[in-house]
Amino acid sequence: MPQTLAQKILQRHCDEPVGEAGSIARCRVSLVLANDITAPLAIKSFEAMGAGGVFHQERVALVCDHFTPNKDIDSAEQVRLVREFARRMGVVHYYEGGEVGVEHALLPELGLVGPGDVVVGADSHTCTYGGLGAFATGMGSTDIAAAMALGETWFKVPPTIRVEIDGTPGEHVGGKDYILRLIGEIGVAGALYKALEFGGAAVRALSVEGRMTMANMAIEAGGKVGLFAADERTLAYAAAAGRAGDAALAPDPGAAYERTVRLDVTGMEPQVACPHLPENVRPVSEVRGVAIHQAVIGSCTNGRIEDLREAAAVLRGRRAARGVRLIVLPATPGIWRQALKEGLLEVFMDAGAVVGPPTCGPCLGGHMGILASGERTIATTNRNFKGRMGSLESEVYLSGPAVAAASAVVGAIAAPADL
């Protein structure tokens, strides 16, 4: 039976034949992830299970990235708990301090996730690794505890929606715009339970970073995973991250899809998601002129080097408008260093930006850029729910890095072409 990417990847980790959509598959996991917010709960369940050790010391990643550098006593206590657990269990991939980056940018960069892997994380954006061809999804704390103890988990095999993206995009249009456009079309529940499988000429032309940006937001359409075939670009990325032995991966011709959605991105404008749902998507020209108080460039969606280059290209020789706080958070130490080397950080400083450490920070309303009531931000992050970045009376608009940068300069939502 021809298989979708989802079935194919699960099969590699499953002893019994993986059935059709809706059936249950029991799989070995390649990596289990938790962060400073979710690990403490998982550790509690892990202890209730009477587990003496993790299934594999190199296949558990604990990344303290959300409220770090610890913003208050509670967050410091949480991190202490995770740190002590990591030490006790001999967890190799424990990250904090100068080694930590936003989890979903960090793990791919370190080569800890790759094509054909099955990854479960106590974080809904674990789906990011689908950009590399990994079946990766978020779960609750008890599930993650069980996976840490046993090295396996169960899945309901998802039906797959195939998304074909074709055409040649204009300047400043990339993965973020494709995924926003798709969510705008199918809605925040459009892929509930399901796998999204991306293909088409525009996807093949996209960098691995751009694909991870898209996979990251699969959950914003309700999806379980967002999957990309692993091609030469993927293999080059994985090799550069120090991995060996990865192979190309593609769905079988004739695999059964629930439906196919087609997008033509030729001539498409950059896209913006308006408050308070990621499905409220409009072309930037329709929201141009909405005044902003803050612009955030960073996060697991768009905090990678390619994103910073794009923002810097727009900001070079320009300044953020008076009254706009421009916050740039390179997503990992590696990205930070690269941006430093390339002179991007200087461009941001010259533009009047605050350049912060790698952290989730403002993305979840944690710290480092919280909004007051009546304030409005544009952000390269992935969620614009009510109150996501601060006051319930604040507003978040989502976009790619070029639009966020241009908006900072104008002081209102703008396209790079408006400058």
């Binding site: 809706g22 059936s23 249950i24 029991r26 369940s45 209730a48 299970m49 009477g50 587990a51 003496g52 779960m139 609750g140 704390s141 008890t142 599930d143 505890a145 069980a146 103890a149 046993l150 169960w154 309901k156 509930l192 339970y193 309700g222 379980k224």
Partner: protein
């Protein structure tokens, strides 16, 4: 496994706040949560339930937050199994993990009227309305999911696995 009991029908898109409102989340005790089961849908809803009764629901049951308290509350109310058109993804996981049997039957749920006597046979993959005689097919519960349920949920299952009692 076979379950038989009176059907209590709830509607579509029942969210976790309807199942157990946030104000009751101050405990993880099954009995206490069970005493307030469906309190967000209708005050005193749980009074109609006798131990062993079966909940029947429309599409997308359990949508909303990922709170594991929701399936615990249903179990605590004495309901061992929920038969629904479909379940929200996280609730589906949490249900089995907390030891609650969840059966998806698609449009067939309409055959299972409120107050009717119904029987669920998880091994054969069939739900019967004993009053009308209607039969609704479903996927049988796979053996290892059965093991999770038999252990009372995922925590108990992992304990057994680690103790070498099951494979």
């Amino acid at each position: 496994m076979r379950y038989a009991g009176t059907a209590h029908v709830v509607g579509a898109n029942i969210d976790t706040d309807a199942i157990i409102p946030a104000r009751f989340l101050v405990t993880t005790d099954e009995a206490r949560l069970g005493a307030n089961c469906m309190e967000g849908l209708e005050a005193g809803w749980v009074a109609r339930v006798r131990p062993g009764d079966i909940m029947v629901a429309g599409p997308n049951f359990g949508c909303g937050s990922s709170r594991e308290h929701a399936p615990i509350a249903i179990k605590g109310a004495g309901i061992p199994v929920v038969v629904a058109h479909s379940f929200a993804r996280i609730f589906y996981r949490n249900g089995f993990n907390m030891g609650l049997v969840l059966i998806e039957v698609g449009d067939g749920y309409a055959e299972l009227g409120d107050g009717s006597r119904i029987e669920v046979d998880t091994g054969a993959g069939v739900v019967r309305n004993l009053d009308s005689g209607a039969e609704v097919r479903c996927q049988p519960v796979p053996p290892f999911m059965r093991e999770i349920l038999d252990a009372g949920g995922l925590v108990g299952y992992v304990r057994r696995r680690l103790a070498g009692e099951v494979r």
